[in-house]
């Protein structure tokens, strides 16, 4: 359980994070979205105790951060952006160092390292120096060290940035697997990722929280228009315009031609696929495709974070 109240962070004169309040219940997978420079990393760094907030409070599992941060750090596993682990150590030595710092009983250490090696798939690199690892493996070692103490809260800053699609899928599987038992907070700018893995999505822009909810709710909230895409066999655009402009339900129309096909994008106030089909049938045009465009998180993201 994490409770953040009125969190503010200034860097000199610049306000990086302005007045964020969030409650995160146990067991939630929460995605933090936002464009670059929105304050995602700063927020996560404050939560993990790397930087101190200018004002506001953080309470984790009932412990106030301003009172006892060392105690909070015991509950949090953190993987900073691009996994900056010591490059001059062997993976095994590094994990053992973290296990020592996290005060894992030395009789249990071996077992724990084995478990993590399997979970994160790093068994094959255990005796390689960190500096020789590929980005994907580095990320997994970082994940293993964040998981070392079996923390109840896991904070991951852009865990999949810079990875190839296979590695992204693997990291995502690991997150989902762990997420069944833990609170996970991760930042990303890949929207499909947030949509696929998160119970809840927070969108930040310019240091402020601009949206909060499940991906579905966010999508529902913002859909004030419907878009239908139609493909016809090549038809005279003027006649198409005439027909659709007569109809009152259609508020916007865009026509383009490509490869002997006519593509039309219609904007309507609500779902009007039936009416559109009837119009086409009446004109006896040859309909090849018709699809309703789903409002994606991407649209919402763009709407919320565009510059005013």
């Amino acid at each position: 359980m994490i409770s953040i109240k009125n969190l503010v962070k200034y860097f000199g004169e610049t306000k990086a994070v302005g007045n964020i309040s969030v409650d995160i219940p146990e067991g939630q997978i929460l995605g933090l979205l936002g464009p670059n420079g929105a304050g995602k990393t700063t927020t996560l760094r404050m939560l993990t105790g790397y930087i101190k907030p200018s004002s506001g409070s953080i309470v984790v599992n009932g412990i106030d951060a301003s009172q006892n941060f060392i105690e909070i750090k015991r509950h949090i596993g953190y993987l900073p952006e691009s996994s900056p682990i010591y490059t001059d150590m062997l993976v095994y030595d590094y994990l053992k160092f973290i296990a020592d710092i996290r005060e894992i009983n030395s009789s249990k250490q071996m077992n724990r390292l084995q478990e993590l090696a399997d979970l994160c798939g790093i068994r094959s690199v255990m005796h390689k120096p960190v500096s020789t690892l590929s980005k994907g493996f580095k990320q997994r070692v970082g994940l293993a060290l964040a998981l070392m103490d079996d923390p109840s809260i896991l904070v991951l800053d852009e865990p999949t940035s810079g990875l190839d699609p296979n590695q992204i899928a693997e990291i995502r599987t690991i997150i989902k697997e762990i997420g069944q038992k833990k609170t996970i907070l991760f930042s990303t700018h890949i929207l499909s990722e947030a949509e696929a893995t998160c119970d809840r999505v927070l969108i930040m822009n310019k240091g402020k929280l601009v949206a909060d909810g499940t991906a579905e709710i966010l999508k529902g909230d913002k859909s004030d228009s419907n878009i239908t895409r139609i493909t016809l066999e090549l038809t005279n655009p003027d006649s198409i315009k005439k027909v659709f402009e007569k109809s009152r339900i259609i508020t916007g129309i865009e026509i383009s031609e490509k490869n002997n096909l006519t593509n039309i994008v219609l904007t309507t106030a609500e779902d009007s696929r039936v009416e559109i089909y009837k119009l086409i049938k009446k004109e006896d045009w040859l309909l090849l495709e018709m699809a309703q465009e789903k409002k994606s998180l991407e649209h919402i993201f763009k709407e919320l974070t565009k510059d005013e």
């Binding site: 760094r45 900056p84 682990i85 150590m89 160092f97």
Partner: protein, 236 residues
């Protein structure tokens, strides 16, 4: 602070020292430099003691110790690994103490071969043990004072070269200050003499262990380490 965690950090930092080639270059450089300067005049002086060897150390350490410490914080800031260290359940004083002790340990290892010098010299003549023991004690104190200055410089910047220059300048200043007393108004000269390391180091290296000299070195060390603590704390 916890002794246990300081020790874990100490172990990691020591390992980092010995796994980098810089360490061996520094050790070689130190032994060749001091060995050459000491023994090139040793037989001319005709004295069976280590005074000339110890006299070299404040100047040599002014450059050797900053080379060891420059990496300690700067490198971690640059690579970002400090973000992981700082978010582990370990307190800042533990991290600083661990890094400091690792530097001191490395210096001891570096000095180890020079402990053969008194063995050789005692064969040649009558070597008094007092100044030798005092000299080594003074050397350790000197190393700890310079290490803490070096760590402070390293905590100030991401750039290792800047850290090196800052700490070398600091250590060098404390070393030469007693040699430039002629430029300083007479009434201030005792103060300046007292500020420099050479005055205190020479006292201990004579075999006279005075609490004032011990307090000087211990205070410089603690001020350096405490300032590091404040610098790193305020960075967040």
């Amino acid at each position: 602070m916890s002794v246990n965690k300081t020790f874990i950090i100490f172990k990691r930092e020591s390992r980092a020292f010995f796994s980098s080639p810089i360490a061996y270059i520094v050790i070689t450089l130190f032994l060749v430099l001091t060995g050459w300067f000491f023994f090139s005049t040793f037989f001319l002086s005709g004295r069976a003691d280590l005074r000339d060897f110890f006299n070299l150390l404040p100047m040599v350490f002014s450059f050797i110790i900053p080379a060891l410490t420059m990496r300690l914080f700067s490198e971690e800031y640059r690579s970002g690994s400090f973000e992981i260290a700082a978010t582990l359940p370990v307190s800042l004083p533990d991290i600083i103490a661990g890094k400091f002790l690792a530097t001191l340990f490395f210096t001891l290892i570096m000095l180890l071969p020079t402990m053969l010098y008194p063995v050789f010299i005692s064969v040649l003549g009558d070597l008094e043990p007092g100044p030798v023991i005092g000299g080594y004690l003074g050397t350790i104190l000197l190393a700890s004072a310079f290490s803490s200055i070096g760590i402070l410089a390293s905590s100030l910047t991401k750039n290792q070269i800047v850290a090196f220059i800052l700490s070398a300048a600091g250590c060098f200043f404390l070393t030469i200050i007693s040699s430039i007393l002629v430029f300083i108004p007479a009434f201030l000269s005792p103060l300046f003499q007292y500020t420099g390391v050479v005055f205190h180091f020479n006292n201990i290296a004579k075999g006279i262990i005075d609490s004032r000299d011990l307090i000087y070195f211990i205070s410089v060390t603690l001020i350096g380490l405490y300032s590091t603590y404040i610098v790193v704390r305020e960075r967040s």
